[in-house]
Amino acid sequence: MTTLNPRIPEGPLADKWTHYKSTQKLVNPANKRKLDIIVVGTGLAGASAAASLGELGFNVKAFCYQDSPRRAHSIAAQGGINAAKNYPNDGDSVYRLFYDTIKGGDYRAREANVYRLAEVSGNIIDQCVAQGVPFAREYGGLLDNRSFGGAQVSRTFYARGQTGQQLLLGAYSALMRQVNVGSVKMFPRTEMLDVVLVEGKARGIITRNLVTGKIDRHFGHAVVIATGGYGRAFFLSTNAMGSNGSAPWQVYKKGALFANPSFVQIHPTCIPVHGDYQSKLTLMSESLRNDGRIWVPARKEDVEALRKGTKKPGEIAEGDRDYYLERRYPAFGNLVPRDVASRAAKERCDAGFGVGSGLAVYLDFTEAIQRLGKEVIEERYGNLFQMYEKIVDENPYMTPMMIYPAIHYCMGGVWVDYELMTNIPGLFSIGECNFSDHGSNRLGASALMQGLADGYFILPYTIQNYLASEIMTPRMPVTRPEFEEAEKNVHDRIVKLMQIKGSQPVDLLHRKFGLLLWDTVGMERKGSALEKAILEFSSLREEFWADARIPGGTDEMNPELEKAGRVADFIEIGELMARDALQREESCGVHFREEYQTAEGEAKRNDDDYMYVAAWEYKGTGNEPVMYKEPLIYENIKVQSRNYKT
């Protein structure tokens, strides 16, 4: 295997999905009852998939580490969800959403998957409205839209600043309805610790009950992992404290390929870091860039005065402000994509124009408040302003917000084909957990779209194409040697962790590793630094296994043990991220290699040599993994350099 086959259906782009659905294999209702499906993770992708599969008649077992599926981190998404409805009549279409997503992803995403995503986007909105999701509406009673980064149309549906919450509660309700009828069995406070393969196919998982510590075996005719991204590898991120990369890492170690691991998005508008005790960063929705203007002082004297407190931001004259996004990117202004906005903030701060601690820029609503009135701004962003004030103790209606980029989302993830199946038969990956749709940079409001597209409208079809050949496979007893061996490995690893009895708390090791990761595989990457980082991560891995201190026992609730397992995986993921960033000798999307930039400091892509998906195969801890390439072929879109200037 030197190149990968994504198994994209034949035919014109616009007909592929329709053609696939009308010719794929299906499972009849009587057989559905005989088939078990495991879904790990209950965020937008996992909950919507588990609910939809349950409705179809499959037996579903759903797992989440939280105490309730309603708390998955999709809940924290604020701004909105994209859909090509063209309700505002501003020229949107399936093709335009597809085009914007491919372009936003800097031509590193697969055409057929992205087109399908755009195609089903409208169905998601219909589904959510039918579920009672209270989207924002116009006075006439119809749905309202707002604009978001990387697009020139308004296609973002929203529920105040709590869109993720409302969509997740919709999917959660659908899931609980299936739990009630018995088609889904829910396992909260349960963490997947390994996948079980039988004769090369995914047939189950090993879990740990986070309350009792009990290790259990579960069989499934297919396994779906929907556990989100691994962004918390960086320690400080906008992800939840429990967000982790362990499920994809376990399947990677069993042979699933891990694609584009270095494509990690850094969100431009987060509350800046304020202390070394800090546990996480808080995002301020990208929607704020609709009305907020980003600036730093144009003169160093003003920077000094602001830091000393002798001047307030409002006292800086209009002419002495540098609205650097509007200056550099006149066509898109404050609504450039996230990677561009993040790097531009870093550029200004590195040049010494940062405010606050020096690592912050202003997001100013003064003009919008004058133009629209405080009430309108409050209606649009009230909860975000309140959240900001509670954290920072400053009123953003009076003083501009201070923001800085932070780790937010992983475009990279488990490699999947058109059917969202990994290279391990019967193992599927959906939502942020897979790599498929966002290339090297995700556009705002597209994560919710992809999670729900995968869970409601894509996986419930494609998984049947696989399961149709499994109808004769009886349920396997979990006493089989494959399950026994997987459980033993899980058990041994826990014992090994508990026996370290070192001197450093897991958080301390994680923080140390996270900072190193941020410096080397963060907003700017450099070949020599990456080479060094690979070695450093490998010695950090050894340090972890020699010196981590995990108190408590295994047969009880033990959050430190949970963290330890996740951090051990993060360190290994970090090593792979660095390798991936090192091999890609170009700049594209979030991946900015210092060596590859234009004279103006913009990313310089190399389509001739790097227009591919890098998919890595595990070859043992400490050994160099093998990279396979999936060439990206653009037949329906003209590849060009991204231009947000004119």
């Binding site: 009672g132 739990v179 909260p188 939840a240 404290m241 108190p551």
Partner: protein, 246 residues
């Protein structure tokens, strides 16, 4: 800042718990309450003691996982926030802070400050949804909704299921939680079709799980981190009565 913490420690559901006193020093006023507990736990781990267990996840006030009863108030002294959004600047240097889990019979303590709130999932399971399967639904704009109704629905839907309402209530009533869900759907045209069954099933489940009755003290509204209004309880009562007599 320095604080004395009196924290409820309990090995598990079966073993009786007790308060244990700890000291933390040199805490920044900008530190969040949970970060202060992280610092305490770091100290405990350094001494090879078991850290204090508490539920938390998003740490930005939306997942509803965290919930501590601080100095006699759910989510502590500030209003309109969850525990993870509480900052130490809301306390005075030298304060003694009493930290307990939610106290309510339907929320048994699992360990230390962690309680089992799965009763909330059981209530949603009983009917907290609109019964539509994936696919085959009408176009989103085929059903206009009055803006005012959509806003009211959203006000109710903002509930994060943290359980502060139950912890605040002297009767351990879950009325505000149930009302928020019933209300979200009751004001929407798509929710009206099953309104009757929904309210009857959810209320029956709430009673069955051992939550107390509502005596309109308003403690739930006062402590709700999402400021969900008592008026939703009024709507729940109206929906319930209508359902009973029709």
């Amino acid at each position: 800042m320095d604080f004395t913490l009196k924290i409820w420690r309990q090995e598990n559901t079966r073993i009786k718990g007790k308060f244990v006193t700890y000291k933390v020093t040199g805490i920044s006023a900008d530190c969040s309450f949970l970060e202060m507990l992280d610092i305490l736990n770091g100290q405990l781990i350094n001494k090879f003691e078991k850290p204090v267990c508490f539920d938390h996840d998003c740490r930005e006030g939306i997942c509803g996982a965290c919930g501590l009863y601080i100095n006699g108030r759910p989510h502590g002294p500030d209003t309109g926030i969850t525990t993870c959004q509480l900052h130490m600047r809301k306390f005075r240097n030298g304060d003694t802070i009493i930290i307990e889990p939610w106290r309510a019979k339907p929320f048994p303590v699992i360990k230390d400050l962690v309680v089992d709130r799965s009763a909330f999932d059981r209530i949603i399971e009983a009917g907290g949804y609109i019964s539509v399967n994936t696919g085959g639904v009408p176009d989103a704009n085929a059903l206009p909704v009055r803006r005012e109704d959509a806003e009211t629905s959203m006000d109710a839907a903002a509930c994060i299921g943290c359980g502060a309402c139950v912890a605040a209530c002297k009767n351990a009533s879950a009325m505000l939680f149930v009302a928020a869900k019933v209300s979200q759907f009751a004001v929407l045209p798509q929710g009206k079709i099953e309104a009757r069954e929904r309210v009857l099933k959810m209320v029956a489940k709430m009673d069955e799980l051992g939550f107390g009755n509502c005596t309109n003290t308003g403690a739930c509204e006062a402590e709700c981190p999402k400021l969900i209004s008592l008026s939703h309880i009024a709507r729940l009562n109206r929906e319930f009565l209508t359902a009973k007599i029709t």
